[in-house]
């Protein structure tokens, strides 16, 4: 199937679908089988060329992979990306550090092949080849590579490859290139502005059990607070995933404490393995990693609701029987309505970035939706200029009793204030989504409308309404924006 899809450019998208952990392809497969399947897909991508959409899967393997076959395949696949980038270098170097003591021979000769005997390639060889391919783009990691070379950091048999990589990197100067930040659209964070977020109704009534055995419904726990939510399980044997995720969540809690936000931003760690990870296991696992546990900071399992959670959040996980066979690193920020405002997927997230994002979500309020701006602008533009006009307007609406309301000129500045408030909220939303177009439009519209308070410019009134309406809707209806990934920490 993979071969067929690879041979047909119109079906290349199927290969990407096959990289999603939750694909039914992986149902009831053991981890070793899953590794073979994923590695083969990456190796296939290495042959046909790596598209942008697949890049994150490759980088993920370099960032947190511990299996030699997958790491080798990822290193190979990266070399088929159209152009090397400086941002790849720290990940390749990190993969080298992670895998060097687990180096072993792997074979990409055919699907499912294992290297038996002294043939095949190795992840270290592939990573060194990738560093050579990066060439001067890998300047930032050259000191680390040279330290490795001088300190006998990799096996002697790689000496020639190591020298070649160092030479390739040292040749040329690309000092202008920004290191370590992935370009927009290629990063690991997804963001959903207010108004685009899916309601949590599907999971609101799921019962969760926490680390002390207390039961609480999903909506009861998450509505009313901004929350940082991670997924993990105690039997995860990849130290770069679950164990590290919980240790990092403990550091997130420290950051929150330093900023006085522990009572305002919740943290939650939900297990993929609710049948096994009972309360005592959760508690022990969390404590051993320095996690703070209390009413605002919990470890949770969903004894009967994991499937619903999987569907609602489209969790990147799959199972063999009740055991996880593979999962991605994933962290979410829920807004005060329990809806996903942002997610961090596949790459190891940065504690400061996740806290900053949660803080940005905090001030959001329900009233900030586009109609307020639109109605305010309409009201201001067409506000009756005299008492007789006022009566005429209200009669036009034909609503009984409305014509009895006296002329209220104070409403005009009130609408102006509403308009300015709308502009302010649009500005906040624009900051959160890194798109300010809506704000510029709304500001222009507000200026135009405010000018009509002084001058009777009908065209300005119409333009003001149109600009305000357009700006409000543009601000609200943005697609999720992938932000750049944070620099990896050592």
């Amino acid at each position: 199937m993979v071969g067929e899809a690879a041979g047909d450019p119109d079906r290349h998208g199927q290969l990407l679908e096959l990289l999603r952990e939750e694909h039914p392809f992986y149902n009831d497969r053991g981890t070793a089988s899953t590794v073979r399947m994923r590695g083969w897909i990456l190796a296939t991508l290495a042959r046909i060329g790596l598209p942008d959409d697949a890049l994150l899967f490759v980088l993920e393997e370099l960032d947190t992979g511990v299996d030699p076959y997958l790491v080798a395949a990822a290193a190979r696949a990266l070399r088929s990306y159209p152009a090397p980038r400086a941002a790849f270098a720290p990940l390749v170097m990190g993969a080298l550090a992670n895998i060097r003591y687990r180096d072993e021979r792997v074979s990409f000769e055919s699907y499912g092949a294992y290297a038996v005997g002294l043939n095949g390639t190795t992840p270290v060889a592939e990573l060194l080849a990738t560093l050579t391919w990066l060439g001067p783009h890998a300047r930032a990691i050259l000191p680390d590579l040279e330290a490795l070379r001088h300190g006998g950091g990799v096996a002697r048999k790689y000496a020639a490859q190591l020298d070649a990589a160092v030479a390739a990197i040292a040749a040329g100067d690309l000092s202008g290139e920004e290191c370590c930040t992935l370009p927009r659209g290629l990063g690991a964070m997804l963001s959903w502005p207010l108004g685009t977020r899916r309601s949590d109704d599907a999971v609101a009534q799921i019962v969760l059990e926490d680390h002390d055995g207390n039961e609480i419904a999903f909506d009861e726990l998450f509505r009313g607070h901004v929350s940082i939510v991670v997924f993990f399980y105690t039997r995860c044997d990849n130290p770069f995933k679950c164990s590290l995720t919980i240790a990092k969540l403990a550091r997130v809690q420290q950051r929150l404490e330093e900023r006085g936000l522990l009572d305002q931003i919740q943290t939650a760690a939900i297990t993929y393995d609710p049948a096994f990870d009972v309360a005592e296991r959760l508690r022990t696992y969390g404590r051993e990693r320095g996690l703070r546990l209390d009413a605002h900071h919990r470890m949770l399992r969903a004894p009967c609701g994991l499937d619903a959670l999987r569907r609602h959040l489209q969790l990147g996980v799959n199972f063999v029987e009740s055991l996880v066979n593979r999962h991605r690193v994933e962290a979410y920020i829920f807004d005060r309505q329990g809806r996903v405002a942002a997610s961090f997927q596949r790459l190891r997230w940065n504690e400061d970035e996740i806290v900053a994002r949660a803080v940005e979500v905090m001030p959001e309020r329900k009233i900030t939706f586009p109609m307020v701006g639109t109605l305010s602008s309409l009201a201001l533009a067409f506000f009756p200029k005299c008492a007789a006009c006022w009566i005429a307007y209200l009669s036009m609406f034909g609503i009984a009793g409305l014509s009895q309301i006296p002329y209220s000129p104070w409403l005009k500045p009130a609408f102006a204030i509403l308009l300015l408030l709308n502009a302010a909220t649009v500005w906040l939303r624009g900051r959160a989504t890194h798109r300010m177009t809506g704000f510029y439009l709304v500001s222009a519209g507000a200026l135009a409308l405010l000018s009509t308070l002084q001058f009777d410019w009908k065209s300005a009134a119409v333009a003001g309404v149109v600009l305000t309406m357009a700006g409000s809707f543009v601000s609200a209806w943005r697609r999720p924006v992938r932000a750049s990934a944070a620099t990896r920490t050592a």
Binding site: G30, S33, Y101, A115, D237, V320, E321, S322, N325
Partner: protein
């Protein structure tokens, strides 16, 4: 009292280290020469292999020689097993073994289907503990197609249990339904105890007096991990049941002594009275665990 001594000059230290390494290398060379010599007796060769230093990876020649001993079916099996043990011991020094590991694992895969059953079993064990997919595939294949089995089914199940993420649960359930022997059934149950949804199976087995004692003991242990509250209840029932067997009573007492809910056990008058009786009158095995129970809950 601190005694200050003058540290020797840096140059002297470095010289000593180099001399030590050279001495090591020479010793290693000498040992390998004996190990690979067909003129020496098996005993001499095995003894020489035991003397090879951890630094075998520093010499490609020595490493390949050792791997060749392991893979060469014409060599005496004692020599091959000694070579395996030596490489295995060296693998504990992960930093020093970095250069060797790739070829070592590849050679292990080469010999999984060796004619010698002991070598096959050891090599598959080593690979299984590394959660090697190649080994897992071979083991599962052997369970599904006994004519291709490299090790007995009970051994295959035992080795597959090293990785809770292995694709072995379906085949384990098959073995439980149709066990080729009792050991296989036991190992299949042990493997299955990693699946939390299998708790009801262990509940049933623990309560079945017709079951073998070791199966009930294994079930108690599985249940204690998966559903500790269920084991508390069942252990209590077992202890209050005069007709149940001593071994399972002793296991139940041990479970409650070690892991019992302090409050509920301490307040369970019927249970405590029963255990007090056992501490006085039961068979020696049960008496011992009953006394420990009484000691714990009388504090």
């Amino acid at each position: 009292m601190t005694t200050k001594r003058k540290a020797p000059a840096k140059g002297a230290k470095a010289t000593k280290r180099t001399a030590s390494r050279s001495k090591n290398a020479l010793a290693g060379r000498a040992a390998m020469a004996v190990a690979t010599s067909p003129k020496r007796t098996v005993k001499q060769r095995v003894a020489a292999i035991a003397e090879t230093p951890l630094t075998i990876c520093e010499s490609d020649k020595d490493l390949q020689a050792m791997l060749n001993l392991l893979r060469d079916r014409n060599e005496p099996i004692a020599v091959r097993l000694a070579a395996l043990q030596s490489l295995q011991a060296a693998s504990f020094s992960v930093i020093a073994f970095e250069a060797c590991r790739g070829d070592y694992i590849a050679t292990l895969r080469e010999v999984v289907d060796d004619p010698d059953p002991e070598l096959r079993q050891r090599v598959l064990g080593l690979l299984a503990r590394e959660k090697d997919g190649f080994a897992q595939k071979k083991l599962i294949d052997g369970l599904e197609h006994p004519e291709r089995a490299l090790v007995p089914p009970e051994k295959a199940l035992q080795l597959l249990a090293y990785d809770v993420h292995a694709e072995a649960y379906a085949v384990a359930r098959d073995v439980i339904r149709n066990p080729p022997n009792e050991d296989s059934r036991r190992e299949a149950l042990r493997l299955l105890s990693a699946d939390a949804t299998a708790a009801p199976i262990f509940e049933k087995l623990l309560g079945d007096k017709n079951e073998l004692a070791e199966i009930r003991q294994l079930s108690a242990s599985a249940l204690q991990a998966l559903r500790p509250e269920k084991l508390q209840t069942q252990a209590r029932e077992i202890l209050l049941d005069a007709s149940d067997y001593d071994e399972i009573k002793a296991t139940s007492l041990t479970a409650l002594t070690q892991f019992g809910n302090e409050e509920s056990v301490a307040n369970d008058v019927e249970l405590r009275n029963r255990v007090d009786e056992m501490a006085a009158t039961a068979s020696p095995n049960v008496k011992q665990s009953a006394r420990r129970f009484v000691d714990r809950y009388s504090k």
